[in-house]
Symmetry: C2
Subunit: 130 residues, 2 copies
DNA sequence: ATACATGCAAACTTTTTGCGTCCCC
DNA sequence: GGGGACGCAAAAAGTTTGCATGTAT
């Protein structure tokens, strides 16, 4: 992967932002340092960096995709009112965990969303994966 | 809420589909029964029905929004290969639960995604909610 | 009768892509 | 020097909206 000024600044801004920005929030930040950068370049680099495992593409709801410069194992908590996303430490317990999360983040916890990820039976058949 | 043929057919198709369709998959189905219906009507009704709590708008990743005719408490499992989404019974345990889910669904379970939902401190301040 | 819903098309938002030029290795 | 990356602009893809007309209550 080639090292360009644009890629470097995009990564730098993403890592230091900690707010899980969307592509064009990040574009706004980066443009202050590289006024001639294009939004397409931001998208292309976010795509490449996440494919390489250097950043993480968040799988959250909402109309825009969000990105995270922290690839460590952690979950998120999202405000249903303003949509902001904060980090949560990796471990998690269950019912009583809500209280811990609330205490740790200051959020009023309304619920949690759990979605399993896997390979469905028909895709397993196609690719032969066990 | 007024009872129209369009709304009725959209709801009927969504409830019987069980595949968590996107708006335009549903549009395709509904159009077989009401050939003159427009995609805009499908979107408008999905919005109204979910606002009324009659259907559920799924908060999953992916570029398209998906809808669920089953509003009962349950989670989902999604195939990272083809993107299909299946239902999961409400309860869930943890590590050993992966095996149960795998056995129950036939999926190869790769992981789970947990995201808490709540009201962030700054929104709590604004609306005064405890 | 009238307020709400529909069909259609245009507008919007977010993301992707084609193309000619540029620059990192 | 060559291939990946860039900027720009157009295209895609998904969703929302304005408006004139239709229809459920």
């Amino acid at each position: 992967m080639r090292r360009t000024k644009q890629r470097e600044v995009i990564l730098d801004e993403l890592v230091k932002l900690r707010t899980h920005p969307s592509a064009d929030e990040l574009y706004g930040r980066v443009k202050k340092r590289l006024p001639r950068i294009s939004l397409g370049t931001v998208y292309r680099n976010l795509e490449i960096l996440s494919r390489e495992g250097i950043i993480r593409r968040l799988e959250t709801a909402g109309s825009q995709r969000r990105f995270d410069g922290d690839t460590g194992d952690h979950q998120h908590i999202r405000c249903v009112s303003c949509g902001c996303i904060d980090d949560l430490a990796a471990g998690a317990d269950r019912a009583r965990c809500d209280a811990l999360v609330a205490k740790g983040t200051g959020y009023r916890v309304l619920g949690r969303r759990v979605e399993y990820l896997g390979i469905c039976p028909s895709c397993r058949k196609k690719s032969g994966g066990s």
